[in-house]
Amino acid sequence: MKFSFTEDQRLFASGLRDLLANECTPAHVREAWENHTGHLPELWSRLAEMGVLSMLVPESTGGMGGTLLDAVLLFQELGRACVPGPVLEHMAVAAPALANTSWGPSLVDGSQIATLWVDNSPYVAHAQVADLVLRNDAVITGFSSTDVHGIDGGRQLFTIAGGTESTASAQVFGLAASDVMALASAAYLIGASERMIEVAAEYARQREQFGKPIGSFQAVKHLMSDALLKVEFAKAPTYRAAWSASTGASTAVRDISMAKALASEAAYRASRSTMQVHGGIGYTWEADLQLWMKKSWALMRAYGDATFHRRRVGASVLSK
């Protein structure tokens, strides 16, 4: 029994972190919000080149041949940087699910962009920048999209109409697309939470009130420690879920649900606590904190909210 990542897995994640530190700063994320696409084409190319987009695509079809365990730290890094656009949908589901189809090559090299419509939601995130939308049973192309004004500028929300459907399966590694997305979102939310806490800690070290840095007040310390606690205890379950999903464990769906429930609640708590630490500044459009907060409020509900996933865990562990 061994609960740790390999050197390779860690190196890839830290390489991605380095890339994102330059190519996906808060200014970049704001650019994607403000040009109303929620997408960064430059960054998209870098992620394709690095192999992030094709991480889960088999080597036989030109991908990196990674498992969800190989990908989970990458999802987390994407969340840390608040990467906008359909990167999770594309890399975690569409690219591997469609690897053997005619769309495969263009999804692997990122020259075409895919998003998903597998949730119970009437809305499709990222539809405007997507060349194709993958549903559970079909690929849709040539659709038209109407902006319905999602709260997160990096996850623009649309209804779609029209287009052509072709039969396809959105299963990945034997898992339903929504389950794979729940896992990816959980890891992404953990990265986002970590970053919110870092940003707030930095603010608390600098900002002075009553003649002292506010981070020296116990109220602030405890608010932040409690937020950190929830994030830290969501991590191991998320990594375990990735392992279960990668090994086809019989508990994979339960484990994914546990991860998504815990990560959703940790992210919400982190958003609330770090905003409170920021005070008025945290309530402004100018503060970068909003980028992660709004992403958290969107993803905590997408692909099943904490209640949905908790109930799935409950159904598994309480019955008998």
Binding site: S121, Y123, H149, Q209, Q276, Y283, W297
Partner: protein, 382 residues
């Protein structure tokens, strides 16, 4: 104790209800944090004033009805029940107005109160500064005496309504040698004077409910001083006490929100899900508890007991309740909770707005300190 209304109270309620039913705009006004919405809300305030409903608790001579606090609460209940517009001049009517009545000169009362009641003048608030948020004693903006004028210099922030308002009120350092709470003066100032720059601050929802105000050698008459020179802290605290105590968030606001939540729950939720029905019941009890607590406080005020740290208890209670109400609504809404615009936009917008509650008018952390120090008599520890 008699929790039944008197016949006079019932008559007052009936009159308010009838007037509101006849006059409340049939469709919601645009946000008063937009130019168009601000203007429309001012028109609405004028109509309220004409019906003598804009400041019911003020004396008749200044445009009110001399209603006691109980009636004020009744009016608020009817106001929210009717779905009437937000109060664009809240800073004036509920905050500054009562302060002027308490410490203002006769001239100031004559000059400022009627135009406030009619919203001919809409007021912005200018208290906080970049380095004086929770710690208002850290104020650096200064007023320097020059003959019969003050020369104002400095920067204010989180000035609510200041983007479109006509005047603002704030505190300025007038004695630079005095420390912290001393040497501050409460000054009223038009927002269209030379030397004033107002920079809107976009909030989380993109609206500009707040602004920064930059004062660069702005000249106002010394007659615009409210209360004693160098006693601005006490004046401000009197206002803050009233703000946090009762008038900032009337119970009706939350009762109405909870009623809407119950409607949402009935329409969309699984009624057998006890986790959810418990949550809805909890906030119903909170709103009801807040209403009862306010009636108790207000009766106490009418019987001559001053409100003290109750203001801090209230502030924490309503702000956390407001967040909770909206959290539950968004949970019920599911995917719809991700839309900023659409049929449920009021809930999503209300959620964002609720998040400012635990922060503004003194963070809840500060309020907890105040309760600990003043009510529980714990030793100071900052």
């Amino acid at each position: 104790m008699d929790l039944n209304e008197t016949s006079e109270e019932s008559a007052f309620r009936a009159e308010a209800r009838a007037w509101l039913e006849a006059n409340v705009p049939t469709s919601p006004l645009p946000s008063f944090d937009t130019e168009e919405g601000f203007a429309l809300h001012r028109v609405w305030e004028k109509k309220l004033y004409e019906g003598r409903w804009s400041a019911v608790s003020w004396p008749v001579e200044y445009g009110g009805r001399g209603a006691d606090y109980i009636k004020w609460l009744i009016f608020e209940e009817e106001y929210y029940r009717a779905g009437a517009p937000g109060r664009v001049n809240q800073n004036g009517i509920f905050l500054l107005g009562p302060t002027i009545m308490e410490v203002g000169s006769e001239e100031q009362k004559e000059k400022f109160l009627p135009s406030m009641a009619s919203s001919e003048i809409v007021w912005g608030q200018a208290w906080s500064e970049p380095n004086a948020g929770s710690d208002l004693a850290g104020i650096r903006s200064k007023a320097t005496r020059d003959g019969d004028d003050w020369i104002l210099n400095g920067q204010k922030i989180w000035a609510s309504r200041a983007v479109w308002a006509d005047w603002c009120f704030g505190i300025f350092r007038t004695d630079p040698t005095a420390d912290r709470h001393r040497g501050l003066t409460f000054i009223l100032c038009p927002l269209d004077l030379p030397g004033i720059t107002v920079r809107p601050i976009a909030q989380l929802d993109g609206d500009t409910g707040f602004a920064e105000i930059f004062f660069d050698d702005v000249r106002v008459p010394v007659a615009n001083t409210l209360g004693e020179e160098n006693k601005g802290w006490n004046v401000a605290m009197a206002t803050a006490g009233f703000e946090r105590g009762v008038s900032l968030r009337s119970p009706a606001r939350f009762s109405e929100a909870v009623n809407r939540l119950i409607h949402l729950w009935r329409t969309y939720a699984d009624p057998t899900d006890t986790a959810l029905s418990d949550a809805v019941t909890d906030v119903w009890m909170q709103a009801e508890g807040y209403r009862l607590h306010t009636y108790q406080t207000v009766t106490g005020m009418l019987e001559g007991r001053p409100i003290g740290a109750e203001a801090s208890l209230n502030k924490i209670f309503w702000s956390e309740m407001d967040v909770r109400i909206h959290e539950i609504a968004l949970q019920i809404l599911g995917p719809e909770a991700e839309r900023m615009e659409g049929p449920f936009e009021r809930w999503v917008d209300g959620f964002l707005f609720s998040l400012s509650g635990p922060i503004y008018a003194g963070t809840n952390e500060i309020q907890r300190n105040i309760i600990a120090d003043r009510v529980l008599q714990l030793p100071k520890g900052m």
